[in-house]
C-alpha cells in the first residue's frame, strides 16, 4: 500500500487533500467563489470582458415568474435550463425542440409544460444548489456540437476541460457523453474523459469510470488522435479566465459550437482530479513548474506558449 503511494507520488499524482490544502485553499480566495459558483454572474462577467459564452435568454429568479415562462420562451425552439449554482451538471435540462405542446428533452422523454415548470421551481428552491440555498434558473442558448466529435460521443455536447493554474493551462481533457451518462458530459455520470496534449490539441487515451480505455464504449471508434481545431485560440480563451475571476486554480469548461466556435460554458473553483487518469500523468510536477516560472510570464500569449512548450504529452 505504501509502495503504491510512493509510486503515485513519483508520477506526481495530486490527491484531494493536497489539492485542497495547497491549491484551492491557497490560490482561490474565498470571496471570489461567488463569481464562479453562480453561473449568471460568471456569464455577465465574461460578456463584459468580451469573452464568448452561450447567449443568455433569461433568468428566472422567483417562483411567480415560472408560470409566465412558457410564453417568454415562445420565440426559442430550443434552449438549455440550468441552475445558476448547480454543481457537477446536476439539474441541467436540454430542450432540443418541440412537439405540439410538449418539450423535447434531449436526454429523456418528452416534457409537458407542467413538468418543465416543476423542474424550474425545484431549481429555484435549491434542490441542485450547494447547501440547498435558494437558487436562480438560467435559460440559455443550446450549443450545437461541432461535428468533429460526432464519431466519439453519444448524443449530447462534449466539453473541453482545461485546468488553468495562475493563468497557465496545465492539463486538459475532453469530456465525451456516453449512453451511460445519458448524453451528459460529466464524468461521475458516466461520461468519458479523453486527455488532450497541451502542445498540439490532439486527444490521448481516455478515462471511463476510473478505468483507462482507448475506444468509445458506444460507438467503438478510436478516441486517440483527434485534433481539436484552433487549439491555441482555445488555450488563450482558457488562460484569460485567470484575469476574469482572479482564481489561481480553476477548471475552465469550454464547448465547441458548430457556428460560434469555442464558448466558455462555466468555471469551476474545485476542479476534479480524474483529469490525471485521462492524461495518464500527475498534475503536481506541472503545477510546481508553473509556481517556479509564472512571475516571468507576461500576458496570455506568454503563458500559453510556456504551457505548449512544457506540458506536452511526451515531455
Amino acid at each position: 500500500m505504501f509502495g503504491l503511494a510512493r509510486q503515485l507520488a513519483k508520477i506526481g499524482v495530486l490527491g484531494l487533500n493536497r489539492r485542497n490544502a495547497e491549491y484551492t485553499l491557497r490560490h482561490n480566495l474565498r470571496r471570489l467563489y461567488p463569481l464562479v459558483d453562480d453561473k449568471v454572474t460568471t456569464k455577465q462577467l465574461a460578456q463584459h470582458a468580451g469573452i464568448a459564452v452561450p447567449e443568455l435568454y433569461g433568468v428566472v429568479k422567483e417562483n411567480y415568474q415560472v408560470r409566465t415562462l412558457p410564453e417568454m420562451l415562445e420565440q426559442y425552439s430550443d434552449f438549455v435550463v440550468k441552475p445558476a449554482r448547480g454543481s457537477g451538471g446536476d439539474g441541467i435540462l436540454v430542450i432540443s425542440g418541440r412537439s405540439r405542446q410538449m418539450y423535447r428533452n434531449a436526454n429523456g422523454p418528452l416534457l409537458s409544460r407542467e413538468e418543465l415548470c416543476y423542474h424550474i421551481s425545484n431549481i429555484l428552491s435549491g434542490v441542485y444548489s450547494l447547501g440547498g440555498q435558494p437558487d436562480r434558473t438560467l435559460i440559455e442558448y443550446r450549443v450545437r456540437s461541432d461535428p468533429l466529435f460526432e464519431a466519439i460521443s453519444y448524443k449530447g455536447v462534449p466539453d473541453i476541460r482545461v485546468i488553468v493554474f495562475l493563468g497557465v493551462p496545465v492539463m486538459s481533457m475532453v469530456r465525451l457523453p456516453t449512453m451511460m451518462s445519458g448524453g451528459r458530459a460529466n464524468l461521475h455520470q458516466g461520461a468519458l474523459g479523453a486527455g488532450i496534449d497541451i502542445t498540439n490539441g490532439i486527444t490521448l487515451s481516455a478515462v471511463w469510470r476510473n478505468d483507462i480505455v482507448t475506444e468509445h464504449p458506444d460507438t467503438g471508434n478510436m478516441l486517440m488522435g483527434v485534433k481539436i481545431p484552433n487549439w491555441e485560440a482555445l488555450l488563450r480563451l482558457a488562460s484569460r479566465c485567470y484575469e476574469l475571476t482572479g482564481l489561481g486554480y480553476q477548471g475552465v469548461d469550454i464547448v465547441l459550437d458548430k457556428d460560434k466556435g469555442p464558448l466558455i460554458l462555466e468555471l469551476n473553483a474545485r476542479p476534479g482530479l480524474n483529469i490525471q487518469i485521462a492524461n495518464r500523468t500527475g498534475l503536481f510536477p506541472r503545477l510546481r513548474s508553473v509556481e517556479e516560472n509564472y512571475k516571468a510570464l507576461q500576458g496570455v500569449e506568454d503563458r500559453v506558449a510556456f504551457a505548449q512548450r512544457n506540458f506536452g504529452a511526451n515531455i
Binding site: M1, E22, N210, Q276
Partner: protein, 509 residues
C-alpha cells in the same frame, strides 16, 4: 501561517494535555480505570412542582444509615426554602417550607452512600409494636381465614411468610387473597397486604421501599420488599419469590405506608430518583490520601456539577472523539458520508439502541422514508413542504415501528425514538437526490459509508474505558485536538484514492 507554528501549537497542546493527565493520574492518583472503586454512590431525589403564590410545604422521606451502608454526605439544594428534619413513624423526614412562591420549583436532595464492611447486625431488644391491621367486615373474615389456612401449613415465622408470599403470587388467586388485593396487584400493593395479614397473625412486619444501587440510572424505579421481625431481628423477604434476603445492592430508603413525597400548597408534583456510581468521592479519597491536596483542580472539575449535568457530559465529551475518528475516516481513508458530522450523531443514537438494532432500525427507517419520498416526487411539491412532509412521515413511521416491535415483543424496537428525526429526514432527502442525480450505486455507497463510520465511531465510543478517560481526564481531548490539527496538514493520498489512481501506476510502468 507556517508549518512550524502548527507544530508548536500541537506540541504545546499535547504537553499541556498529557502533563495534566499524568499529574492527575500519577501524583493525585485519579482512577485510571472505571471499576477500581465501586463502593460509593450518589443518590439524588429531584422534586419538581408548581407553586401558586401560596405557602408551600414539601416533605421528603430520606434514607437513614443502615447496616453495611453509611451516608457520607447529605445535601439539600433549594433556593430560599427553610429546611427542617423530623422523625416521622420511624422514618427521617426533610421538610422544605416557604411562605410565598410562584411558578415551577425544583428541589434536590443529594446523598453520598458508602459501602462499609458489614458488622453482625445487632439484635433488637424489644419486639416492635404491631400496628393494627385494620381489617373490617368481609376483609376481616377473609384475612382471618387466610391466616388460619397458612398457619396450618407452616411451622414457624419464616415458613409462614414464605407461604403467604407464595399465595400472593399464584397465577390463580385464592378468593380470600383476591378480595384483599382488590383490582391492583402491584408489588407495593402486595407488600402492603402482606404486612397487614402478618399483623393479623401477630407477626411484626413492615414494607421497605428503596432503590437499586447501580452504575447509572437517571430514572431509578422504586423497589418494594418486605421485612419481618423474626428471632430478634428484621429479616428481608422478596415479595415476588418469597426468598429471604434481598440483593446486596438494594438500598432501603424508607419503610412504612407513607408516600415518599408529600406536598401542601403546590401541585403537579414530579419526583425522580437517580443513582450513579460516584467517581468524585473516589477521586477525593485519592486526593486526600495523596500527599498534595488540590482543591482548585477539583472545584473546577466536572465533578462539581449536579448529577444530571454530569451525565450529559459523560456523553458530550465523547463527541470530540467521534469527530476525531471522522477526520481520520474521511481525510485519511477517504470514506464518503452524508453530512459531515451526521455519523457521529448516529453513533450517539446507537448507544441507546445497541449496534445491530441501530443499524437495522436506521436502514428500515431510511428505506421506508425513501419510498415515501419517491412517491412525493410524483406530486411535484416544492422543497420545503416536501421536506416537512417527509418529516411528518418519518415521525409517524417511528411511532408505528415502535408499536409494531412492541407487539412483537422486541423491546429494542422502542428505542427507534432515540434517532434524531431531523437527521433521518435530511438523510432521506440527501440520499434521494444523490440517488436521482448520481445513481443508486453512489447513493448506497454514501449511505453505507455513513453507516460504517457511525458503527466504528459507536464501537470506539462505547468502550467503557474511553468514556471513563474522557470524563475523568477531559484534558486528554487536547491531545486529540493536537492530532486533529496535525491531520489538517495531512496532504498525502487518501487510502481509497490509491485505488482510484492505481491505473496510473500501471500505465506508466
Amino acid at each position: 501561517m507556517s508549518r512550524r507554528h502548527l507544530y508548536f501549537l500541537a506540541l504545546g497542546l499535547t504537553i499541556v494535555g498529557l502533563g495534566l493527565f499524568l499529574y492527575k493520574a500519577l501524583v493525585l492518583g485519579f482512577p485510571l480505570t472505571p471499576h477500581r472503586i465501586s463502593e460509593i454512590w450518589n443518590l439524588e431525589a429531584r422534586i419538581v412542582f408548581a407553586a401558586h403564590n401560596k405557602p408551600v410545604k414539601v416533605s421528603l422521606l430520606i434514607p437513614r444509615p443502615i447496616q453495611g451502608l453509611a451516608i457520607v454526605n447529605e445535601n439539600f439544594i433549594s433556593q430560599g426554602y427553610g429546611i427542617t428534619t423530623t422523625t416521622e413513624e420511624g422514618n427521617l423526614q426533610a421538610v422544605w417550607s416557604k411562605r410565598k412562591i410562584k411558578g415551577q420549583q425544583t428541589l434536590y436532595y443529594r446523598a453520598v452512600v458508602r459501602r462499609i464492611s458489614a458488622k453482625k447486625p445487632g439484635s433488637l431488644l424489644r419486639p416492635p409494636k404491631i400496628e393494627n391491621p385494620n381489617f373490617q367486615g368481609p376483609y376481616l373474615a377473609a384475612s382471618q381465614s387466610l391466616v388460619d389456612e397458612i398457619h396450618a401449613r407452616s411451622s414457624d415465622v419464616d415458613t409462614f411468610v414464605k407461604e403467604l408470599i407464595k399465595q400472593l403470587n399464584k397465577p390463580q388467586l385464592d378468593e380470600n387473597i383476591a378480595l384483599l388485593l382488590g383490582k391492583q396487584s402491584s408489588v407495593s400493593r402486595k407488600v402492603k397486604i402482606a404486612v397487614r395479614v402478618l399483623g393479623q397473625a401477630g407477626i411484626p412486619a413492615r414494607a421497605i421501599h428503596g432503590v437499586r444501587l447501580e452504575e447509572e440510572n437517571h430514572n431509578a424505579p422504586l423497589l418494594h420488599w418486605l421485612e419481618v421481625y423474626d428471632t430478634k431481628q428484621w429479616r428481608p423477604y422478596d415479595p415476588m419469590t418469597g426468598e429471604s434476603g434481598v440483593p446486596s445492592n438494594y438500598m432501603p430508603w424508607w419503610h412504612g405506608t407513607q408516600p415518599l413525597v408529600q406536598i401542601k400548597g403546590g401541585d403537579r408534583l414530579q419526583t425522580t430518583l437517580s443513582v450513579n456510581l460516584n467517581q468524585e468521592e473516589a477521586v477525593r479519597a485519592a486526593t486526600e490520601s495523596g500527599m498534595i491536596k488540590s482543591p482548585l483542580l477539583l472545584e473546577f472539575s466536572l465533578f462539581s456539577l449536579p448529577v444530571h449535568t454530569q451525565a450529559v457530559y459523560h456523553i458530550l465529551l465523547l463527541v470530540p472523539i467521534g469527530a476525531f475518528l471522522l477526520v481520520i475516516l474521511r481525510n485519511v481513508v477517504g470514506i464518503k458520508t452524508f453530512g459531515t458530522f451526521m455519523p457521529v450523531l448516529m453513533a450517539l443514537a446507537f448507544r441507546e439502541t445497541q449496534l445491530l438494532w441501530g443499524i437495522i432500525l436506521f436502514s428500515v427507517m431510511v428505506a421506508l422514508g425513501l419510498s415515501i419520498r419517491l412517491y412525493l416526487e410524483h406530486l411535484k411539491l416544492l422543497v420545503v413542504p416536501r421536506l416537512a412532509s417527509v418529516l411528518f412521515v418519518v415521525v409517524l413511521l417511528m411511532a408505528l415501528l415502535s408499536i409494531l416491535t412492541h407487539k412483537l415483543g422486541l423491546e429494542r424496537g422502542l428505542s427507534v425514538a432515540l434517532f434524531p428525526m431531523v437527521i433521518l429526514t435530511m438523510t432521506i432527502e440527501r440520499m434521494s437526490i444523490v440517488w436521482e442525480e448520481r445513481g443508486a450505486t453512489e447513493a448506497l455507497q454514501q449511505g453505507l459509508g455513513s453507516l460504517v463510520v457511525a458503527a466504528i465511531a459507536y464501537l470506539i465510543m462505547d468502550i467503557k474505558y474511553v468514556e471513563h478517560l474522557a470524563f475523568v481526564f477531559p484534558e486528554l481531548l487536547l491531545v486529540l485536538l493536537a492530532g486533529t490539527l496535525l491531520l489538517g496538514r495531512y496532504y498525502g493520498y487518501r487510502l481509497l484514492e490509491l485505488r482510484r489512481f492505481k491505473q496510473l501506476v500501471k500505465g506508466s510502468t
